[in-house]
Symmetry: C2
Subunit: 411 residues, 2 copies
């Protein structure tokens, strides 16, 4: 593959995580050691800002070790994010013309897009258009999502840190609820519209012999009020304070969300329903059917932005995959998403590779059946073995005045 | 004061915190260096367990530095807790006879009770009865509450750690919400039925020039929907993503809780109404009146049990006040609660003292008016200066397998 000289741009898209800035740092580190790339731009708010030519120079970060370290421990998207879904090329060719005009104007030959499922759709479409219009550019998608629901890759950057937070928070909550003698049920709602990867992490402390959620309900298993109450009653025979973890997306046999009765039914720009209230609904059900103290809570945004307790493994891998994306582009790869492969070794080891972005876009990786117990109310040891390596290690966080310090981008 | 030889007992009561076990450790450390005390017992689940003679020997912990360190970083009440309010002596003299029979049977001459407002009521009543029945015992209350609403003491153990968590979480949430261009309002609900001390901590990052809550609503200020929407509209003119922190106990001019319409109105055993839903209510109001994206979340139990991010200052002070309680008892003091006094020095310094438990029980310390801005929608620099020293310093937390390790008591 011949050397392609020009500039690069990087953007972040989709829901923020505790690791997406580590991947941004990885891209910056990769660009710093790539001779073909002359300048590095950042798009503000993903493709949405790019369309407004909202582009900034990231050159000042290239050799700034102190700032890069801070960036790697900062939650959310330092460049800003968006949830824009591009129309198909047939639907709106002028939009693609505009995008490629900006690319040409800035002589951008390397395009790195960090995001989830929907962002890979963007990578796929832009890559397709580049071939059509004959503009030579290397477009690489880099995975990011706490949901861990991207296919092909072993796991996604961001998932490990969210899981470490969830495992820790649920362990602390289980300690908290165990303080009282009176019977109680505490229901913790965890993100996950279609897949239960995050909720599965609530069971991790048990793997190491600690308090954690006693029952786990994932969207992969059809939810039944009767089974839930029956399992709860059994659990309450063994201990007075039971903790339950449920995914926001658990559904009844008729496919209606458990939380649907308590939500306003609005739909986001990707056609996803806004969910909330599965735990609240079940809290009411427990009060009605069991009559004991019942409480619900949501880990909400904290599960995706608690970078003060990020997984060191996750952050190191997130940096590595960002760097790897630049190496792939340098080699001439385009239209691909970089992925993790777990090696078949006794101790956890990964290697990196590439897969077609078009094969990843609009797909969902579900928790496989052998990761869920036969009653459908917990996960198996196999699942815990899969998740456990991803939460290992702690970051050394910089605090000032008692509060973590975050990176701020120069405007 | 003559030396009183005998055994000691310690109990924990009320809502768990991240620091109540540090105080327990302080009591154990104090007893270890008190020659008059022969044995140290722990009551399980406070006075409720005590009444069932559910008492365990804590002797094995006396010189166990490793276990004590772990205890100091473990959330919730290691001995278990209760919310039992003792009847008056006139109402049920037989109950007091039973308590003092157990005390005599075990030759307990030192009684340490770690708790909040309602626990000081227990200390006060037991102390009164001891004088009546002529049983020589020294009863000391040790403050504990994340709410910081005890009178006389400068602040309460547990408040600093909860505040550090709140300041950190709100900063991370503010980063998260700032990722998008589209207008949004995020409302964070924080514990605090009558006083706004915890909610005030949401403004701390601003004191150090960082992102944080833009508007703060405390129960000390009568809430008005109109003022709220008007302040929000002003805030949205300056930035697209506004974060609001509200206390669970904010009320309308008619004294009804803002969240009351969304709760079930149940009352706990102290006559407190169960609150929830102030933020949810306001989320709906924003959708209706402003029409932008609006989201609510509750920091819920995490604010009282996130010991992985405890304040080192809080933990050190909590240990110190536990030790100090033993020293006071050794000197013959009884019926008192140990308190913190802030010295009038440039740098933050405290000293410890005692106050009548009866003067603390059933009182509430509100956030003073000079700590709240004139519009009633934020706190003043004076307030931040008061809170800031309490969140300083980080604990070195022991992790195993990626999750914090907690202390477990031998049954």
């Amino acid at each position: 593959m011949e050397k392609l000289e020009g500039n690069a741009i990087v953007g972040q898209s989709g829901g923020p995580t505790s690791a997406i800035n580590a991947t941004l740092s990885g891209v910056i580190r990769g660009v710093a050691s790539c001779k073909a790339i002359k300048k590095l731009y950042g798009m503000r708010n993903g493709i949405e800002g790019f369309l407004q030519s909202d582009i900034i120079d990231l050159f000042y970060l290239l050799d700034n070790e102190e700032e890069l370290c801070l960036l790697e421990s900062t939650p959310s998207s330092a460049l800003g994010s968006c949830r824009k879904k591009l129309p198909s090329i047939i639907e709106d060719a002028s939009l693609y013309e505009r995008i490629f005009q900006i690319l040409k104007d800035c002589n951008i030959r390397y395009f790195f897009y960090i995001g989830g499922n929907d962002s890979m759709d963007t990578v796929s479409k832009l890559s397709e258009y580049s071939k059509k219009c004959g503009y030579e550019i290397r477009i690489i998608g880099i995975p990011k999502t706490i949901d861990n629901d991207l296919v092909i890759t072993d796991h996604t950057p961001g998932y490990g840190s969210a899981s470490k937070y969830i495992a820790t928070a649920v362990k602390e909550i289980a300690r908290d609820t165990a303080a009282y003698l009176c019977k109680s049920v505490t229901i913790v709602e965890i993100m996950g519209r279609d897949s239960g990867w995050l909720t599965a992490a609530a069971s991790l402390p048990k793997y190491f012999g600690d308090e954690c959620a006693d029952l786990i309900y994932l969207p992969e298993v059809i939810f039944s009020d009767e089974e839930f109450i029956s399992s709860l009653n059994n659990a309450l025979l063994k201990k007075p304070n039971v903790v339950v973890a449920v995914s926001e997306g658990i559904r009844y046999p008729n496919r209606r969300y458990v939380g649907e009765s308590l939500q306003n039914g609005r739909i986001d720009s990707f056609g996803h329903k806004y969910l909330s209230g599965a735990a609240k609904k079940l809290e009411c059900l427990v009060k009605e059917k069991i009559g004991c103290k019942s409480r619900s809570l949501e880990l909400s945004l904290m599960q995706r932005c608690s970078s003060h307790i990020a997984s060191q493994t996750d952050i190191i891998e997130s940096i590595a995959i960002g760097k790897y994306a630049v190496e792939c582009a340098e080699k001439g790869i385009s239209g691909k998403m970089v992925i993790f492969k777990r090696k078949d070794t006794k101790d956890y080891q990964i290697e990196m590779s590439c897969a077609d972005a078009s094969k990843i876009a609009n797909q969902v990786k579900f928790v496989p059946l052998n990761y869920i117990n036969s009653q459908g109310n917990n996960i198996t040891e196999e699942c815990m073995k899969y998740v456990a390596p991803l939460i290992q290690g702690e970051r050394s966080i910089k605090y000032e005045n008692g509060i973590p310090v975050h990176f701020k981008i120069k405007q």
